[in-house]
């Protein structure tokens, strides 16, 4: 059975769906799922549920159950990592100039003074499951871009599994979620940007994989270079030892959060974190050194 890659653009990034070639209808369903998630969760759509909640900071806003689920997952990740994963960086990213889709963002522009940073403000996000409301604290804005993409990939794979598709991979801008493997293969052959895999690829036999990187999504304001990965403690673009982390996990939601958390630490801290959770990772330092951690064979 041959494999087909279906491509489309959604959630501010390129999406690829790898399926057996006779499943075009299922690929279109996946596309609709991403479009639906984008309409609910985009920080850049004024009419999205997320934008309405951000615009009404300080007040309860009714959102749909899927949106509430993503917000709760993000807050769960923030609590579990003691804020090293922070879903409330949207206002700061906008202050730094990332206030529209990256594709439409001017590469350079004037800078502006930054407001005093309040780390841990995410703890003041209030969710009411019974009323299906969220209240964003004044001065903050939710940005669920990464975890939302990962969860959308997981949801898409679950839908494909439920539809009886024998194997599938959904790649949401570098965040991969899988179901089964193509017949005769040892896994999905995945290339990882900036990682030398000897001209080949890394085979992923199950689960998920995500990459966080400071190499992409860069812009300048007032002559100062920025990128989209912020340090939740300082509210400024991360300037750590690592430039890129690729990590595996059972789900894409976990891999996405793990990659961001690992980026915050030194090589030693990232290594300890990856090993403690039985994950496998490829690290790239700012100096260009590449390291493989965990179960590589």
């Amino acid at each position: 059975m041959s494999l087909t890659t279906y491509r489309f653009w959604s959630m501010g990034t390129d999406i690829s769906v790898l399926l057996p070639s006779d499943h075009r209808r299922e690929a279109i369903r996946v596309q609709r799922l991403f479009v639906d998630w984008d309409h609910r969760l985009s920080r850049f759509r004024r009419d999205s549920e997320l934008s309405r909640a951000n615009a009404a900071a300080g007040a309860d806003v009714v959102v749909s159950p899927p949106t509430l689920e993503v917000i709760e997952a993000a807050l769960c990740a923030a609590r579990a990592t003691h804020g090293r994963f922070d879903p409330l960086l949207g206002a700061r990213l906008a202050e730094l100039g990332y206030d529209r889709t990256f594709a439409s963002l001017p590469v350079d522009g004037p800078g502006r003074p930054l407001a005093a940073w309040r780390p841990g403000l995410w703890r003041e996000v209030h969710v009411d499951r019974v009323r299906s409301t969220v209240r964003v604290p004044v001065g903050g804005a939710l940005d669920l871009g990464g975890i939302a993409k990962g969860m959308a990939a997981d949801a898409a794979v679950a839908a494909l599994r439920g539809a009886g598709v024998p194997y599938a991979l959904v790649n949401a801008g570098g965040d991969l979620s899988t179901h089964g493997v193509p017949p005769g293969s040892g896994g999905w052959a995945v290339g990882i940007d900036n990682v030398d895999l000897g001209g080949g690829a890394a085979a992923l036999a199950r689960g998920a994989l995500a990459t966080s990187s400071t190499f992409g999504r860069r812009w300048s304001r007032g002559g100062v270079a920025h990128h989209h990965l912020l340090d939740p403690l300082t509210g400024l673009p991360l300037e750590g030892e690592l430039a890129q982390v690729t990590v595996t996990a059972a789900s894409c939601r976990q891999a996405e959060v793990a990659a961001k958390v690992a980026m915050l630490g030194s090589v030693a801290e990232a290594t300890a974190f990856v090993l403690r959770h039985g994950m496998t990772a490829a690290l790239v330092t700012r100096a260009g050194e590449q390291l493989r951690i965990g179960h590589w064979t």
């Binding site: 991979l169 999905w188 052959a189 290339g191 940007d193 976990q254 996405e256």
Partner: protein
């Protein structure tokens, strides 16, 4: 000895009677005040206050990262990449 041993019991009964009298007086007072002020005073009020669920940071982040099973490993293959992971 018998008289002395009965004495604490009598004092206890007396304290209970005094307590009952005070409680009755207070209850009557509340009813009278309620009637005068136009408010209704429940004879046995039980306030209900629904508390929001309390969440705490977990001390172990494996509650999040381990919740969906073990992470997969990776093996290097000579096969051409079917797809690529780039930073997001």
């Amino acid at each position: 000895m018998q008289q002395r041993s009965d004495q604490p019991a009598k004092q206890s009964r007396l304290r209970r009677l005094k307590g009952l009298a005070v409680a009755t007086t207070a209850g009557l007072g509340m009813l009278i005040w309620g009637a005068v002020s136009g408010t209704v005073v429940a004879s046995d009020p039980v306030a209900t206050d629904t508390l929001q669920p309390v969440t705490q940071d977990t001390t172990d982040d494996s509650t999040f990262f381990g919740a969906q099973g073990p992470a997969p490993g990776l093996s290097q293959t000579n096969a051409a990449p079917m797809t690529r992971s780039h930073g997001s």
